[in-house]
C-alpha cells in the first residue's frame, strides 16, 4: 500500500541546448512534465516569460503521421503473414531502428504509391458503377433489334419511351391506331413499373401522335451518343467492366507486393510519434530570449540520476524539492505483484489522491474472496485460471489488459477454492453423469442444503469488510492528528457494533455483548454531538447518531449477494447438467450431452464471471470505498518514449 513519493524538478536551461535536453529527459523517461505555460498570462510574469508557440513543424509531423497510419491500415489486409490473436510489439535493436528511419525516401515512395493505387481503385469503382447503371438502363431494350441511334427515316419518326405499367397496354395501342392510323406501336418489354414501347409514325402527324401519347403518360427516352443495337452496346459495356476488373487485380497485386514494407512503415510511424512527442512537450514550458524553463514531478528515488545526467552534460540551473504541504502530486502506485491486478478495479473508480492511503492492499484480499464466492465452482475456476494462465505465459500484455487477465487468473484460483469447499464441479456434473452413484463431496458444506449457514458467513465477511473500511477511516484521522476523533468515531462504533453482534450469538458471549453494546451506545450518545454548542442539541445529535447502526445493518445485508450469486451459479449449472442428461446415454444422447455441456457451461461461466466482477466491484465501490476513499488523483505520466508497434532494445534514442 504505497503511493510513490514524488519530488519536484524545476529546471532552467539554455535555449540552444533545448532539443538535446528534451531528448535526454525522454531517455530518462521518469519526469512527468507539468504544464506551466499559463504562468505567462499572469500579471506578475507578463513580459518576463513567453509561451512556446506551436509551430508549423508540429502540424506537418501530425499530418505525416496520419499519412503513414493510413498507409499501414491500407496494407493491413494484404499482409499474408500468419496473424497472432493478440498483436505484440516487435523488438528492435537500435541500429535496426536507425537504418529503418534513414530509409525515409523509400518509405515516402511507398506511401505515395499506395495513395496513387488507392485513388485509382476508387476511380475504377465509380467507373464500374456508371457502366453497370448503363447496362441496367439498357437491359429492357434488348429485344429491340434496330440500332438505337435510328431516330427517323425520310418520312417517319421513330421514338422510344416508357409508359406506366398500371396502364392497360391494349388501350394505348387501340387509341393510337384509331386516332392516328398512320402509325405503328410496338411493346418491346415490360416490368412491374413500366412498359417499354417503340412508336413509329408519319412525320407530319407529330402533333396528333404526341397528344395521344401524352394522354397515356408517355415519356420519351433518348439514347444520345449510343450506336448499334441495345444488345451490342450491352456487350461492349460488359467487356469494359471486365477489363476494369482485370486492371484491378493488377493493382491489387502491386499493392500486395508492397505489403512487406509494412514493417518499415510501422517503425517510421513510431519514429514520427517520438519526434511529435518531443515537439509537443515544449508547449508545457516557458521561455525567455535565451533560456527555457520546465517543471515536473518524478519518483523521489530518481533524483540523483536526473541531477547527475543533466548537470554533467548541460549548463543549467536546477532545483529538486519535496512537495509542499498542500501540493497535489501525480500518483504512481507501487504494490506487490499479487496486489497489482486489483489496482485495475480501484483505478476504474478513481486513482487515490497523493495525500491519502492507497486502498489496494486492503481491498485485494476481499475482492479475491468475494469474486470466488460469487462464482464458486471448482471446474469454472480451473477453466478460468488455465485459460488466462496460458494467455499470460504465451503473450506479454501491457497496461490494463494485463491487469485484468491477471485479475481473472487470481479470481479463478479463488473460484476453485470456494468451489471445492462447496462441492461444485461444473455444478453436479459427476452425479448427473453417473445418475447419482458418485459425487464429489464438498470439503466444507453444500450451500444448497444449508443456505442459512452461508448467508451468515456472507454477512460476517461483510461486517469484517466494513470494519476494515472504518479502520482506515480512523487511521486517516490519526494521521491528521485527530486522535480523539478516531477514538470517538471509530473506536466507540467498534465497541457498539461488536457488542450487537455478540448479542445475537446469545449465551455468555451474548451477555458480554449486551454490556459492550450498552457501553458503546452510551459512549456514542455522549460523544457524537460534540460539534454542537447547545447541550440539548449535543444530546439529541448523540442519540440520533445511533440511527447510523441501521445504515450499517443495511450495508451488511448488501453482502447477501455473495450467497445469492453463488447459489445462482450452482443451480444454473445443475439445470444445464439436467438438460444434458435428459436423452440418456445412447450415442445420440452423448452427442447432445457434450454439446449442451460445452455451450451451457461456457454461457454460465461467462454470465457469472461478469456478475461476480460487477458485484465484487460494487461492494468495493459503494460499501468499502464509500467509507473513507477520496480519490481524484492524477495519474503519473512520465515523458518517455511511447511507441505503438516496436520496442527498441535498451530504450535509448539518440
Amino acid at each position: 500500500m504505497a503511493i510513490v513519493k514524488m519530488n519536484k524538478l524545476s529546471f532552467i536551461g539554455l535555449s540552444d541546448d533545448k532539443d538535446l535536453i528534451i531528448r535526454e529527459l525522454m531517455n530518462l523517461g521518469v519526469v512527468d512534465i507539468t504544464d506551466i505555460s499559463h504562468i505567462a498570462d499572469e500579471d506578475e510574469w507578463k513580459g518576463m516569460v513567453k509561451k512556446f508557440k506551436g509551430g508549423d513543424e508540429l502540424l506537418q509531423i501530425e499530418s505525416d503521421i496520419q499519412k503513414i497510419k493510413s498507409a499501414i491500415d491500407y496494407l493491413q489486409p494484404y499482409d499474408k503473414r500468419k496473424k497472432t490473436l493478440f498483436k505484440m510489439k516487435r523488438s528492435l535493436e537500435y541500429d535496426e531502428y536507425t537504418s529503418a528511419v534513414n530509409e525515409s525516401a523509400l518509405i515516402w515512395d511507398v506511401v505515395h504509391k499506395i495513395d496513387e493505387y488507392e485513388s485509382q481503385l476508387s476511380l475504377m469503382r465509380s467507373e464500374e458503377n456508371k457502366l453497370s447503371n448503363q447496362i441496367a438502363a439498357l437491359n429492357p431494350w434488348k429485344p429491340l433489334l434496330i440500332p438505337l441511334e435510328l431516330a427517323s427515316t425520310e418520312t417517319t419518326v421513330i421514338t422510344a419511351g416508357v409508359v406506366p405499367a398500371s396502364l392497360d397496354s391494349k388501350s394505348l395501342v387501340d387509341d393510337l391506331s384509331s386516332n392516328v392510323p398512320e402509325s405503328h406501336i410496338d411493346i418491346i418489354n415490360s416490368d412491374k413499373d413500366q412498359l417499354y414501347v417503340l412508336v413509329i409514325y408519319y412525320k407530319k402527324l407529330e402533333e396528333e401522335v404526341q397528344n395521344v401519347l401524352k394522354r397515356h403518360g408517355f415519356s420519351k427516352i433518348s439514347f444520345k451518343g449510343m450506336s448499334g443495337t441495345a444488345e451490342d452496346i450491352i456487350k461492349k459495356l460488359e467487356s469494359q467492366i471486365l477489363s476494369i476488373s482485370k486492371k484491378r487485380v493488377e493493382i491489387k497485386n502491386s499493392i500486395e507486393a508492397l505489403a512487406d514494407k509494412k514493417d518499415i512503415l510501422e517503425v517510421y510511424y513510431d519514429h514520427l510519434t517520438i519526434e511529435r512527442d518531443r515537439l509537443a512537450i515544449v508547449d508545457r514550458m516557458l521561455k525567455t530570449d535565451r533560456v527555457f524553463i520546465l517543471e515536473g514531478w518524478f519518483p523521489a528515488e530518481y533524483g540523483d540520476k536526473i541531477e547527475k545526467t543533466l548537470k554533467s552534460k548541460f549548463d543549467c540551473i536546477m532545483e529538486i524539492r519535496k512537495p509542499e504541504e498542500d501540493e497535489e502530486t501525480p500518483v504512481l502506485l507501487d504494490n506487490p505483484r499479487l496486489v497489482q491486478p486489483f489496482e485495475a478495479i480501484t483505478e476504474m473508480y478513481s486513482l487515490p489522491n497523493s495525500k491519502e492511503v492507497d486502498p489496494n492492499t486492503l481491498m485485494a484480499p476481499f475482492y479475491f474472496i468475494f469474486f470466488g464466492m460469487m462464482v464458486s465452482d471448482a471446474g469454472y475456476g480451473l477453466l478460468m485460471s488455465i485459460i488466462t494462465g496460458i494467455l499470460l505465459i504465451k503473450y506479454k500484455f501491457e497496461g490494463l489488459l494485463d491487469k485484468l487477465l491477471r485479475l481473472l487468473f487470481l479470481g479463478g484460483i479463488s473460484t476453485f477454492i470456494w468451489g471445492a469447499l462447496f462441492g461444485g464441479w461444473f455444478g453436479d456434473i459427476v452425479s448427473a453423469v453417473t445418475s447419482g452413484r458418485y459425487s464429489i463431496p464438498p470439503l466444507w458444506f453444500n450451500p444448497m442444503n444449508n443456505p442459512m449457514k452461508l448467508l451468515i458467513c456472507s454477512l460476517i465477511l461483510g461486517a469484517i469488510h466494513l470494519f476494515v473500511a472504518m479502520g482506515i477511516q480512523g487511521y486517516k484521522k490519526i494521521k491528521e492528528g485527530k486522535i480523539l476523533d478516531a477514538i470517538f468515531d471509530t473506536g466507540f462504533w467498534y465497541i457498539f457494533l461488536i457488542g450487537l453482534g455478540l448479542l445475537l450469538l446469545g449465551g455468555t458471549a451474548g451477555t458480554i455483548g449486551k454490556y459492550m453494546a450498552i457501553t458503546g451506545a452510551v459512549l456514542l450518545v455522549l460523544t457524537q454531538g460534540r460539534s454542537e454548542k447547545n447541550i440539548i442539541k449535543k444530546f439529541t445529535k448523540g442519540v440520533l447518531s445511533l440511527y447510523d447502526a441501521v445504515g450499517f445493518m443495511s450495508d451488511v445485508l448488501s453482502y447477501s449477494r455473495l450467497l445469492a450469486l453463488g447459489l445462482a451459479t450452482g443451480v444454473i449449472a445443475s439445470v444445464i447438467n439436467a438438460m444434458g442428461t435428459l436423452i440418456g446415454f445412447n450415442p445420440l444422447g452423448i452427442i447432445v450431452l457434450i454439446i449442451v455441456f460445452i455451450v451451457g457451461h461456457v454461457f454460465n461461466l461467462v454470465i457469472n464471471a461478469l456478475g461476480a466482477y460487477v458485484h465484487a466491484s460494487r461492494l468495493q465501490y459503494v460499501e468499502f470505498f464509500g467509507k473513507f476513499f477520496e480519490g481524484g488523483g492524477k495519474a503519473y505520466k512520465p515523458f518517455k518514449v511511447n511507441t505503438k508497434y516496436i520496442n527498441i532494445n535498451n530504450g535509448r534514442i539518440q
Partner: protein
C-alpha cells in the same frame, strides 16, 4: 363432489403457477430491458463500431433478472420433484406457499430489469463520450441489480424454508 375448477386450488397447480410466473415476469422484464439497452447501444456502435464490446457488456446487465426467474422456477420444480426426482403431491397450503415464494423475483424482477435497463442505457451514453468510464456506467446499473438479487435471495430462502 368435484368441479372443473378444482384444479385452481390444487397444490401442484399453485406451485407450478408460481414457478411459471417467476419465469414469465422476470423474463419479460429482462427481454424488455435488454432490448431497450440494445437500441441505445446500436446507436453508439453506428458511430464507433469499436465500442461494441463495451456496449454489449452494458446490454447484458438487465439480462440477469430473467436468469434469476428461471433459477427460482427451477428451485421450485426441484422441490416438488418435477425435475430430478419423484413428483410430490402437495396440499393447497403448500402450493400456495410456494406460489407466494415465487412472487418476489417475479414482480421485483420485472420492474428492476426495466429500471436497470434505463440506467444501463444512460450508461451507453457515458461510453459514447468517455469510454474509459465504463466501470462507472456498470456501477450505476449494478446499483439497481441489488434489489433483484435481494428478491432472488428472498424467493430462494422461502422455497428452501417451506417444509413439504
Amino acid at each position: 363432489m368435484t368441479h372443473w375448477y378444482d384444479f385452481l386450488i390444487s397444490g401442484n397447480f399453485l406451485a407450478l403457477l408460481g414457478a411459471a410466473l417467476a419465469v414469465i415476469f422476470a423474463g419479460l422484464g429482462s427481454a424488455k430491458g435488454v432490448g431497450l439497452v440494445g437500441e441505445a447501444a446500436a446507436g453508439v456502435v453506428t458511430e464507433d463500431p469499436g465500442k461494441f464490446g463495451q456496449a454489449l457488456l452494458l446490454q447484458a446487465l438487465p439480462g440477469t433478472q430473467g436468469i434469476y426467474g428461471l433459477l427460482t422456477a427451477f428451485v421450485i420444480l426441484n422441490k416438488i420433484g418435477i425435475v430430478g426426482g419423484t413428483p410430490v403431491e402437495l396440499t393447497s397450503l403448500q402450493g400456495a406457499l410456494l406460489f407466494a415464494a415465487a412472487m418476489p423475483i417475479a414482480i421485483v424482477g420485472y420492474f428492476s430489469a426495466i429500471a436497470q435497463a434505463r440506467a444501463a442505457a444512460a450508461g451507453v451514453g457515458i461510453i459514447a463520450k468517455r469510454p474509459q468510464e465504463l466501470a462507472k456506467a456498470i456501477t450505476f446499473a449494478a446499483m439497481v441489480e441489488t434489489y433483484a438479487v435481494l428478491a432472488l435471495l428472498g424467493s430462494i430462502l422461502m422455497v428452501f424454508g417451506i417444509k413439504l
